[in-house]
Symmetry: C2
Amino acid sequence: MSPDEGSVAGTGEFALIRRITGGRSQPASTLLGPGDDAAVLAAPDGRVVATTDVLVHGVHFRLDWSSPEQVGRKAVAVNLSDVAAMGAKPSSVLVGLACPPDTPAQVVAEIMDGMWAEAGRAGIGVSGGDLVSADQLVLSVTALGDLEDREPVTRAGARPGDVLAVAGRLGWAAAGLAVLGRGFRSPVGVVNAQRCPEPPYEAGPQAALAGATAMLDVSDGLLADLAHLAEASEVGVDVQTSLLEVSTRLREVGSALGADPLRWVLTGGEDHALVATFPPFDDLPEGWRKIGVVTMPGSGVTVDGEEYRHAGGWEHWQQ
Amino acid sequence: MSPDEGSVAGTGEFALIRRITGGRSQPASTLLGPGDDAAVLAAPDGRVVATTDVLVHGVHFRLDWSSPEQVGRKAVAVNLSDVAAMGAKPSSVLVGLACPPDTPAQVVAEIMDGMWAEAGRAGIGVSGGDLVSADQLVLSVTALGDLEDREPVTRAGARPGDVLAVAGRLGWAAAGLAVLGRGFRSPVGVVNAQRCPEPPYEAGPQAALAGATAMLDVSDGLLADLAHLAEASEVGVDVQTSLLEVSTRLREVGSALGADPLRWVLTGGEDHALVATFPPFDDLPEGWRKIGVVTMPGSGVTVDGEEYRHAGGWEHWQQ
């Protein structure tokens, strides 16, 4: 039986690659783009920041909850967020896409459109990739970045007394997941936050320029990720709820679902906000809000000075 | 029900990451290794070569045919081969690993051992990665490389009259596939070639230094990949069978299976030999053997001056 003409099998590997790579504009930093054995990218700093994240259908996204374009945007966003969290400017992404042979070619094309759209939001392009057959849709993205002659901001430099600050949204994706999980499709603001995060890419380099002592992106939940920062920096961290922004929208959704919106803010992942620590007497750069302080070693991660009673965070194997 | 203690689910994401990253030595070019949001790697040349390949269980490898260690080696080898085919020296790999929650943690650890072993063969390490849950084992590897101030050798520079040459083995993996497909496990030489290629990484930079005009790695089959080179360079290519090495071992296997070993050499993929074109009057660098000539535009890919009657090559969707 010959495969459906509209499927990736019916379209054929090389025709599909031509379709998804054709007509794209590479940024000047892509010295050699797709079509050869490898891409060649500018690394003017003499170093390159590199990170990879894999997103699996049914685990990290669902095509009945998100459009292919949103899925593509999300796969790129979660990677560029990691680049920004080092204080670097994204320079390129490479994409591995595995899908069943009967996947509509249009779905693959729209995923790639989403990837290009999100890459474009960071001023870059998709400079290479691989397209293979699998039982399940799997997107693997590698993002590269440029430190622009700055030192990387790791998780390990926070000092007691530093200010803890955030850029970007917290709790929105978790609220969206709660809404989708109950079978609703609105409010669209939180639902779209679940479908595709909007990490504040520029805030990463800005924090580095402003002297951030440690930084990471919130992928698993604020408290869970702060535990990684506290461990790496050998400090404690205290989040002050009076400083946390719990927007009217989150309060409304919480009220409608009988859920505590503060819990989404403290433990919800997938918004890919950036969290950083700054020296205590400096002004915070634009877009950054103080949410707490760095405390003494051994004090752990606390909320208003006490242990938070609803543990949270995401482990991939415990779904 | 709690998951099996020996499985990745029973071991837990963070414990498994500690297990597979612990005790590894990063090369000096890894400025910041695993454990933060992203790795930081040296790119002394001001450019970085980057390529990504995804390998799927049941499509690109089978754990009943190969050990986990061989699978890990293969996933890294096929990527480093692409770096070498640009004339670059591998500098790092990043790994995305998706697997079912009930996968034995030991299998994941052995795959990573294989990745480290193959990376070590090229003098590099695994500098970052991601570990997620999926229905099927999927390995996504991104390899980075350093051009060492040389220009990349693309597929597009071959000129009529150039010498066509190969470094590495041709046909061995295809012979191994034929053996495994009949249910045999020997001869071990060809079977291991199928399980894990041994690309000649050093031959890539050596060809670039020697003035190679075009280069690629043979992943889909010699003739299929030469068609890409011919198209990109707008030339023809003629392979001369009298120059091709068809080893005694391949002849023996062909004889035992009633197959034509020359066909494996001409159309078999997965050995990841390097093929390059060189100016006609220069000596070939060590490890390179002449196998044909570059012909005039429009002549296509020929064997002994004629079209080869057994088309070959691999399309992912037509299995």
